[in-house]
């Protein structure tokens, strides 16, 4: 969840592009994982292949399509990217059919583990670990690497960053590719945990948008915090009042928006 939201947040925050196709990248990532696992039986290979492929797809889409709508406001972007969600879901359906698929967790991560008296599935813990590692890397990169500095500069003030000699179009393409890659990674990670089916994109996109809005746009820390809140809210919500879980999350979002319109850790608009 965090991985997905981080990618979305970077794209939205930095580039001011509302990318509804982000959920599709996630779904395609899961299907690539399925194909790779069926063909080679290697989950780990899928973990490498899917993000790379999606980064390439993301870059291509950015270069050919999305680049053209930056100046046109959010409505044009929403239309374009929503169109892509339809294209992707139909491509997936024509290729794989509407059946629900699933892949087993990689060997070594099957079964359950006892931690402090509670039972967890080993794979869930693995997901947690991956998210933590990626989150930490992103945070470090964002704060202390040159790339992070360039990105942050882009987020703060596009024109100024451009004047300072940063090749913004290239940065945009790379950022978009990186965001798409993160979504692909999220798709692979989610594949053994959840079911793989056309439509999984829409379910997760909504939650990711909530995460981004909650946490604040263009902020990795915000995405992290938002994801934690939404995750907790959803799980607590489903256990206590199953029929109201999603409502609870949206109530949370509404409350945050009233108090801090730009999100918990977002920039003041």
């Amino acid at each position: 969840m965090f991985l997905l939201a981080a990618g979305l947040s970077i794209i939205f925050g930095l580039m001011n592009v509302l990318n509804l196709a982000h959920g599709s990248f996630y779904m395609v990532g899961a299907y690539i994982a399925y194909s790779v696992v069926v063909a080679t039986k290697s989950f780990w290979l899928a973990l490498v292949v899917a993000p790379v492929l999606l980064a390439v797809v993301g870059a291509a889409l950015e270069l050919v399509f999305f680049r053209r709508v930056y100046g046109r406001g959010h409505l044009a972007q929403v239309l374009l990217t929503f169109g892509f969600t339809l294209v992707f879901v139909d491509l997936i359906r024509s290729q794989f059919g509407p059946t629900t698929r699933s892949i087993p967790p990689p060997s070594g991560l099957e079964g359950a583990v006892q931690v402090l008296g509670a039972t967890f599935s080993a794979y869930s813990l693995f997901v947690l670990a991956v998210a933590t590692v990626v989150g930490a890397l992103l945070l470090v990169g964002w704060r202390s690497l040159r790339v992070g500095a360039v990105l942050r500069a882009g987020v703060e003030d596009k024109e100024m960053a451009g004047l300072l000699g940063i090749n913004l179009p290239r940065v945009f393409t790379l950022t978009f590719a990186f965001g798409a890659g993160l979504a692909g990674l999220a798709g692979v990670i989610a594949a053994p945990e959840f079911a793989i089916y056309p439509g999984m994109d829409a379910n997760v996109l909504i939650l990711a948008l909530v995460v981004v809005v909650l946490g604040g746009l263009g902020s990795i820390e915000g995405a992290l915090l938002g994801a934690a809140l939404v995750g907790l809210g959803y799980v607590i919500g489903t256990s206590l009042f199953p029929q109201f879980a999603i409502g609870l999350i949206f109530a949370l979002m509404a409350a945050v928006l009233v108090v801090r319109p730009s999100g918990l850790l977002g920039r003041r608009m």
Partner: protein
């Protein structure tokens, strides 16, 4: 509230599908027109039917979560119609499909489209219960002969039954009812916790199980584990709500994606193997679910359904092999059987009235009188409920050396009829 939001989101997506859907329908109609223009069915030959064309409106989901079911039912129907040369009672049968989608509004639009625009003689289909129930008054009011090919909502056989609507699939009550008796009496398991997706079908199924189970001396151990429907989130809290130490087992109603994610999580956490019994309505471990989860399948699960892939009767074995040959290796499923039987009812009723469907009462009477040996066993209608009377098979989930994970029939309850009056 959550349902409403989900509904809203679904609608949003569906609204945006309209154009595509429209084009698709256009193509279907154009295809049908081209087909007619080319001189009709090649199998009918020079001695083809001379009566007016019999138009059958098929309202099934071809997009959204139930698309797979819609495709299977359509395949089953097509297979039977092809086997009789697409004609009956000296009339050529043409299927006119319309997309039921997910939401009731779309299902209503699809129904009206085939009835008012295409002027069909009959309607068949409806996968989801709200859509079947929501179209009931319209079909009843217009006196359109209708066969419900999947939707299991009990009321269609009870308070909301119509002289023009018969059901070839099942009522939610049916597959669950014998399971309660079987679990309590034959297996002697008396302490059961209910695990189900909280929506119409889930609630009706567990209520039916409870009836026979408690009547046979069983105790339902609470609290029920009721998951949201559909559950797109983590299933862990629900799996962990199963009170392993206090119960002999569970009775479950879930299907499709929900069943897949639930069973996988339960397998990872090792929950189900610690129970003496996993039971449920057959959809919980039907072939679509088993194909997705493979070795995470709950071996030994006891479920009730009106069909099983492994049924040895000749009709079934024939059906399975021909289906797979016709549809490039696809495995037959219970929905395809329902479609196959639906088409057969139509053909036999048409033959019965010699193609004359103008007298609707006579045509409905002919439908009511149809009975035959189906892949699922003996098939006939119940005059009290307009619902199918059928054998419910008690099946056990096993790994077959040839078929892979499947359900083996271990007992059967013949002639199970919905108790509606």
């Amino acid at each position: 509230m959550a349902d409403e939001i989900q509904g809203y989101l679904d609608r949003k997506l569906v609204e945006n599908l309209d154009r595509r859907e429209f084009l698709q329908m256009g193509l279907t109609v154009a295809g049908a027109a081209a087909f007619v223009a080319c001189g009709g069915s090649p199998t009918s030959g020079p001695s083809g039917p001379t009566g007016p064309e019999f138009k059958l409106g098929v309202v099934l989901p071809y997009s959204g979560v139930y698309a797979e079911l819609g495709n299977s039912i359509t395949n089953g129907m097509r297979m039977y119609f092809d086997s009789v040369g697409n004609q009956a009672g000296n009339r050529k049968i043409t299927m006119i499909t319309a997309d039921e989608q997910v939401q009731l509004a779309d299902a209503v639009a699809a129904t009206k489209k085939v009835v008012e625009q295409d002027g069909v003689d009959m309607v068949a289909g409806y996968v989801s219960s709200p859509n079947a129930a929501g179209n009931r008054n319209y079909l009843d009011g217009q006196k359109i002969p209708t066969l419900v090919a999947n939707a299991g909502v009990n009321s269609l056989s009870r308070a909301a039954k119509s002289p023009f609507i018969y059901r070839t699939s099942f009522s939610n009550w049916q597959p669950a009812h014998p399971v309660g008796t079987y679990v309590a009496e034959k297996l002697g398991k008396k302490r059961i916790q209910l695990v189900y997706a909280k929506y119409g079908a889930g609630l009706e199924s567990v209520a039916s199980f409870k009836e026979t189970f408690t009547a046979a001396g069983g105790t339902i151990v609470g609290p029920d584990v009721a998951t949201p429907f559909p559950n797109n989130g983590d299933q862990t809290p629900f799996v962990q709500a199963i009170q392993i130490d206090k119960i002999d087992g569970i009775y479950s109603f879930m299907s499709g994606t929900d069943a897949v994610t639930f069973l996988k999580k339960a397998y990872e956490l090792g929950t189900l193997t610690r129970l003496a019994l996993v039971s449920g309505a057959g959809f919980f471990v039907e072939q679509d679910v088993l194909a997705a989860i493979t070795d995470a399948a709950p071996a030994g699960a006891i479920t009730g359904l009106h069909w099983a892939l492994t049924l040895p009767n000749k009709e079934n074995q024939d059906f399975i092999s021909k289906y797979s040959k016709k549809f490039s290796g696809r495995q037959a499923d219970v929905f395809a059987v329902q479609g196959f039987d639906t088409a057969r009812v139509i053909v036999e009723a048409l033959n019965g009235v010699k193609g004359n469907t103008d007298n609707k009462d006579a045509f409905m009477k002919a439908i009511a009188g149809v009975s035959f040996k189906s892949p699922r066993g003996d098939f006939k209608f119940d005059a009290n409920t307009n619902n199918v009377v059928q054998t419910i098979y008690i099946r056990k989930t096993v790994k077959d050396p040839k078929l892979g994970w499947t359900n083996q029939v271990i007992d059967q309850y013949p002639g199970v009829a919905d108790p509606g009056k």
